[in-house]
């Protein structure tokens, strides 16, 4: 019996069950589409999303016999707002969720940050993966357009100062309230290719209703951007050594959340035998814009 939703959306279905997992003291919300008797598959959402954004895509896999297991990454959706965040902790959380379903190796399917996250997990725990599907989460070596060193330094100084200022008062952060429609409209700025009906469907899942309005549940301490030593090419370097069968799906239409990766950036880095699908006229959210097409890619690949 799927979880309830107050405002249905065509083709979308809430998970069939949900449960809570203790990941080293952080409470993680886990979900499943499909029957317990199905073949397990681990599905990861992208950054600043939540598992409910898979409500259109995951049921298409579940309906073909997959037990689709996902989770709200820490600080996202109904998972706890943690004190600390990094990729290693996200990897541990994901595997802890999978452990509650099976200790066997399963296919990994991840969108955007979730794709990168599961590729990193595949490297550190190759014993737990049978196949990798990356949905528009392929890194590239592209950088911001050329600017002078002086200008780059000025931008970095301004960003760092602003970020440090924010951290000083992060504990006071609270998300701006609004009507359901307002939250959907705000999200549309980052998801301009997705319909308002879909975004309004997401609000009662990814937001909570307070006395003064709806608020996204996302930890206010989390922000876009940031700085650190990480370089996208380190993610590229991870790909050729992946032994599990690999399917990559890339949306060719750039939008606000796209990583700017082009086919020529990644083709030479794919593991041998990898399948690569580039979708014309589709943006970053390949699985939301074209759920049937992408699900068919995945189902065929995993068969």
């Amino acid at each position: 019996m799927p979880l309830d939703h107050p405002k249905p959306y065509p083709g979308a279905r809430r998970p069939d069950k949900s449960w809570s997992v203790d990941s080293n003291g952080v409470s993680i919300a886990a979900y499943q589409w499909g029957e317990d008797s199905g073949r397990p598959l681990l599905l990861a959402h992208g950054g600043f999303d939540f598992a409910g954004t898979m409500d259109g895509f995951a049921p298409l896999l579940a309906d073909e016999g997959w037990r689709v297991v996902s989770w709200d990454q820490r600080g996202h959706g109904d998972s706890e707002h943690a004190a600390l965040y990094n990729w290693e902790s996200d990897q541990r959380d994901g595997l802890t969720v999978l452990d509650t379903v099976t200790k066997d190796a399963v296919p990994f399917v991840g969108h955007s940050k979730g794709g990168g996250l599961l590729m990193a997990l595949a490297e550190v725990r190759p014993d737990r993966i049978t196949a990798m599907v990356n949905l528009d989460g392929l890194p590239s070596q592209r950088t911001v357009p050329d600017v002078s060193d002086r200008e780059r330094r000025r931008l970095m100084a301004a960003e760092m100062s602003e970020r440090l200022d924010y951290r000083r008062t992060a504990h006071e952060g609270i998300r701006k309230p609004g009507t359901l429609e307002e939250l959907a409209s705000r999200r549309a700025k980052m998801n301009p290719r997705l319909s308002l009906d879909w975004l309004e469907y997401l609000v009662p899942i990814g937001a909570r209703e307070d006395r003064d309005g709806w608020r996204w549940k996302l930890d206010p301490a989390m922000r876009f951007g940031g700085f650190g030593p990480y370089r996208p090419e380190w993610g590229l370097a991870r790909m050729p050594g992946m032994i599990a069968p690999f399917l990559a799906v890339l949306g060719l239409e750039e939008d606000a959340m796209s990583w700017g990766t082009k086919p020529e950036d990644v083709i030479d880095w794919l593991p041998s035998g990898a399948r690569f699908e580039a979708l014309e006229g589709v943006g970053h959210f390949v699985h939301i814009e074209q759920p049937r097409t992408v699900a068919d890619f995945v189902l065929e690949f995993l068969s």
Binding site: S23, N24, G25, V26, R74, H81, A82, A83, L84, Y85, N86, E88, S89, R92, D93, A120, E123, V124, R125, R153, M156, A157, M160, S161, L164, R167, R168, A170, H171, A221, G226, F227, G228, P229, Y230, R231, W234, A237
Partner: protein
């Protein structure tokens, strides 16, 4: 004043800022090494004329040990910034991991860091200049005591490219009122510190000379 602790809020973490000595003049902020806490058996700063403070990083000493790990050097940089917000402009003395964090916050807050002394200590090397083979760590549930095993693991292999570290020197030099705002006193020179030491305006010197220079 000596022996007192000021408790500072950094998001969900409460940080312990130890008041080690009173004094007149510019404060000195001590940043400990990986796995250490503020109390240290060595006191090269004994002659420092101003007040002396020591910060316990997240997961260390008397500061909060948060659940579930997720550490980064950039997070600890914000720990140091929260301490600077409390005490105002200060000279920093960092050991090991604290030396690296001292460099980061000096570049991030060139108007608040009146000199950074980078010294040997645990965690100075970090994880090297580029990605290393991934490692997996799943500790037993924490009992909340410090140092946090997640911190010991995650902060021991954080990647520190030389040009990334040197970038913080550039930021510091562009915004600092000092001609030589960084003193490298560490004998061990991992590649990030070697890159820092090569930058114009960075002095390789002794602890005594560094303290004498910044105390003026």
């Amino acid at each position: 004043m000596s022996g007192e602790i000021t408790w500072l809020r950094h998001n969900k973490v409460v940080l312990a800022l130890h008041h080690l000595a009173a004094g007149d003049g510019l404060p000195l902020l001590l940043l400990h090494g990986l796995g250490e806490k503020t109390s240290s058996p060595r006191h090269p700063w004994a002659a420092w004329p101003g007040p002396i403070y020591g910060l316990d990083f997240t997961g260390h000493g008397a500061s909060t040990v948060p659940a579930g790990g997720g550490y980064s050097a950039e997070l600890l940089m914000s720990d140091a910034d929260v301490a600077l917000a409390e005490i105002g402009p200060a000279t920093i003395y960092g050991r090991g991991l604290g030396a690296y964090i001292g460099l980061l916050i000096a570049g991030g807050r060139p108007d608040l860091v009146m000199g950074a002394v980078l010294a040997d200590g645990p965690g100075l090397n970090g994880g090297g200049p580029g990605p290393v083979s991934a490692s997996w760590f799943q500790p037993q549930p924490s009992d909340g005591t410090s140092p946090d095993p997640f911190a010991l693991h995650e902060l021991a292999h954080d990647v520190r490219p030389g040009d990334y570290a040197a970038g913080f020197v550039h930021l510091l030099m562009a915004g600092s009122a000092l001609d030589s705002p960084i003193a490298v006193v560490a004998k061990n020179r991992p590649s990030w510190l070697e890159a820092v030491a090569r930058e114009p305006g960075v002095l390789a010197t002794s602890e005594d000379e560094a303290f004498a220079m910044f105390a003026q």
